[in-house]
């Protein structure tokens, strides 16, 4: 375990990104505390200011750790596999459990180092008064420490299962989002449902305990995310996190111990080679178009070959997987409408519209960077770029094909959530204008997220880095600016909060809906202009980068 730990930690700390991350992290925390540090000899004896800063400080740490903790472990094993060093490790006397614990300790040690760097900020908040040492500060660091360990273990597990770094990042961040936000959804939706008995509510409470949000809210002195004060949230999260860590470590160890290199990709039997009867059965079963074992048709003259290639070489681009995703979101959106019927009429429309909007924004945040960030870097990494350069395809054709390959599946999945709006409009036709404005915002956001991810991603050589940066950028835009909103009473003025929220598509959508807390700002059309400008910048970066890479050196 020790050699692995030493190697992982050294490799991580040596990189310039780690240094930049530490410096940036410290600078943000320092600025935050400096903002509310007592000036001119006056101190707030009630501790109000301290608690305000502590809230932003705590949520900032939570957000930062959710983004940083899984990033390194998610690419750890899969990168070893791709570089060929996994075979060397497995061939050494190091046992799989030592390997997993070493990697986990290495990844967590780095995140814990970041937490240690936050101690001066926390100490400053504590020094300003109004914060309890153990029940608030201690509880916050306990939750964050466990969270770092849990998400690192989750990242490692995913890293051992998948075959590419971008898939590892995509899946890990999806699971993190599912655990942090998705785990709260059942309790949020069913808390007022008359038909949900004690047992159902109990199950939703257990699920909610997997999310760190209620525990952090409790530690920061906020009322629970579900409306009520949740005094046992920290203990329940701790138990849940330890269970997840143990499960992930066990599964990753089992995976590494079961000859992970002894896998081949079976091509399966092609439907075209089956007997006419078997072929007919398969065709009917897969509705003719979605059979993964059917031979693909030739690329048609009207199709962009790069787009078809991109769709074929990623699982989500395949018709069968795309249909499954569309189906899942279709069902989810209808479930949300069903949830609306359990709420009172006055809360219902706004509550469900908000929930659907959050789901759609999450969908874009989750899918757009994974679909678009590696469009160029993956090509460079696999050395396919050189081959693409040798074809007569123009830079414009390449860029168009690549962007369409990300926009089309994202658009199709977004369309799958529209039935929820149709159902809501049937209940309340007066919401038509609102629904149109929401769709406009989300459409521009989806295009922007794809183009910005593609543009920024094209600047990096490694897909994993491109994906992580694109995720951070899009998540920072949608969630990061909400930290300013959290400080809307103090330390930030309403004007400052409004300016900070203008670029945020989630805030703009909630503003259109009239969700409490967002209704008082004026975020559109400023948000649309900002996103349009960002879209143009993303497209320009990508076009320039493709043109630059396509030229002879």
């Amino acid at each position: 375990m020790i050699p692995i730990l030493a190697r992982e930690l050294t490799a991580m700390l040596r990189s310039w990104r780690a240094v930049a991350l530490q410096i940036g992290f410290l600078a943000c925390l320092g600025a935050l505390v400096a903002l509310r540090w007592p000036a001119e000899g006056r101190a707030d004896m009630g501790g109000m200011a301290s608690r305000q800063v502590f809230r932003i400080f705590g949520y900032g740490l939570l957000m930062g750790l959710m983004l940083v903790s899984p990033a390194f472990p998610a690419t750890s094993i899969v990168r070893e596999r791709l570089q060929g060093t996994l075979a060397l490790l497995l061939n050494s006397p190091i046992t799989p459990v030592s390997m997993v614990l070493g990697k986990l300790a290495g990844a967590t040690a780095f995140v814990l180092l970041l937490l240690v760097l936050s101690f001066p900020g926390a100490a400053a908040c504590f020094a300003m008064g109004g914060i309890h040492l153990t029940s608030q500060l201690g509880a916050l660091y306990l939750v964050l420490g466990l969270l770092a360990l849990e998400y690192a273990a989750l990242g490692l597990l995913v890293s051992g299962l998948v075959r590419s770094t971008d898939a590892a990042l995509r899946m890990t961040y999806s699971l993190v989002l599912l655990l942090a936000i998705g785990a709260l959804a059942p309790q949020f939706l069913l808390k007022n449902a008359a038909w949900a008995g004690e047992e159902v509510i109990g199950i939703t409470r257990v699920l909610a305990s997997l999310s760190p949000v209620p525990a952090v809210m409790h530690a920061l002195g906020d009322s629970g995310v579900l409306g009520a004060d949740d005094s046992g949230a920290v203990a329940r999260f701790s138990i849940g996190a330890i269970a997840v860590i143990l499960l992930c470590v066990t599964l990753t160890t089992a995976r590494l111990g079961s000859r992970p290199m002894d896998r081949s990709r079976d091509a399966g039997r092609m439907t075209d080679e089956l007997s006419p009867r078997a072929k007919l059965v398969r065709r009917v079963m897969y509705l003719w178009f979605f059979d993964p074992q059917a031979r693909s048709g030739l690329i048609a003259p009207w199709q962009n070959p790069v787009m078809v290639k991109e769709q074929r070489c990623r699982p989500l681009g395949r018709a069968n997987w795309m249909m499954r995703l569309i189906g899942a979101y279709f069902v989810l959106s209808l479930l949300l409408v069903l949830g609306a019927t359990t709420l009172s009429q006055s809360q219902g429309v706004i509550g469900v519209l908000s929930a659907i909007a959050i789901m759609q924004v999450s969908l874009v945040v989750l899918l757009a960077p994974s679909l678009a960030s590696g469009l160029i870097s993956a090509e460079r990494e696999s050395r396919g770029w050189q081959l693409l350069q040798m074809t007569p395809l123009s830079a414009l054709t390449i860029v168009t094909g690549k962007l369409l390959s990300a926009l089309v599946p994202l658009g199709l999945v977004m369309l799958a959530t529209l039935p929820a709006y149709v159902a809501l409009l049937a209940l309340d036709p007066a919401q038509f204008q609102t629904a149109m404005a929401i769709q406009t915002t989300l459409l521009i956001f989806a295009v922007m997220a794809v183009l910005v991810s593609a543009g920024v991603g094209s600047l990096f050589r490694q897909t994993a880095v491109a994906t992580a940066v694109a995720y951070s950028l899009v998540a920072a835009l949608c969630v990061g600016t909400l930290f300013v909103w959290l400080g809307r009473d103090a330390p930030f003025t309403p004007r400052f909060v409004e300016r900070a929220l203008v670029p945020n598509p989630l805030a703009a959508t909630l503003n259109i809906i009239g969700t409490p807390g967002f209704a008082d700002y004026r975020l559109t059309p400023g948000n649309w202009y900002f996103m349009a400008a960002a879209t143009i910048c993303g497209a320009a970066i990508m076009l320039v980068q493709v043109g630059r890479l396509g030229r002879a050196r």
Binding site: S296, R312, L387, M390
Partner: protein, 342 residues
Amino acid sequence: MSDELVLRTSDLTKVYGNFTALDGLSISLERGRILGFIGPNGAGKTTTIKILVGLVRATRGEASICGAVCGRDTAKIKRLVGYMPDVFGSYDNMRVFEYLDFFGAAFGIPRRDRKRRIDECLELTGAMRMKDLFVESLSHGMKQRVALTRTMLHEPQMLILDEPANGLDPHARVEMREVLLELARRGTSLIVTSHILPELARICDTVAIITGGKLRAFGTLDQIMRTVRHSRVMEVVLGDGAAVAAASQVLAGELGGTSALMPSREAAEIRFTTDRDDAGLAAILGKLVAAGVRVVQFREIPMDLEDAFLSVTGQTGAKPTDAQSGAKPAPDRVPSAVGVGA
């Protein structure tokens, strides 16, 4: 095969800062011929290839393929040349047919002809059975075949293959050789780089040896051998090991101190180097027989491409050569004597 020149380079030079990667390369190649482009690692082979396919711009000089100037007529070059780099460039989750269909479509092969063309090329490279397999699941040898298929799809006039035999098993190597020879027979010109020199010697009509960015030898294999060979390596096999001493004495007397004698009592043989012609060698054989030495074999050890390469690059000690146009001797690498071990 015809004498029509397909490739012509003149004083091709590439400089990166203070480092000259390629220095005044001038070579040419006729239609339907195979050029073996050899050199040690970092010699400038890949730089040359990248200039030819338009990925790198030459600092000085010019190269043209079928009249299209490399680096200027980029669109034409892409259609004229099929380039197979030393790495495969795979796309995950794609079957071989889909992979080839993409490149076919990218090169604008009409849909009605594309399937037939893919099948033809797969058949020629012996990769038809891989058609439905996933690209990432292929072995290295299989990938090489698929890469060659991809390179041939748009029927280029010239194929540039960087290490096509790298990582192939002996059986696959023989098959690859047959494919390349068949392509040459059909009129395609080929530039092939390889570190497996005996393999290259079997297919190449012309050889270019490059080291340190400079062309050291260029010509047909025979021309290079003739120029490189300043002395012959002879082998005398005797009827019995006891006769080695006597035979050595006779040979030493005949050859004087100018040649190295390498006797082996166990193998009952003696090797020696000499610059004598056939008549001179016949006289030596006569002396051995006259001295009562029972000679079983008296033969010349043939020189192969590997010897020629080592000799030209100065790693064994022969003089460098300037067999044909553009080739420049390397005075700094002139060795003092030929040394061929037994």
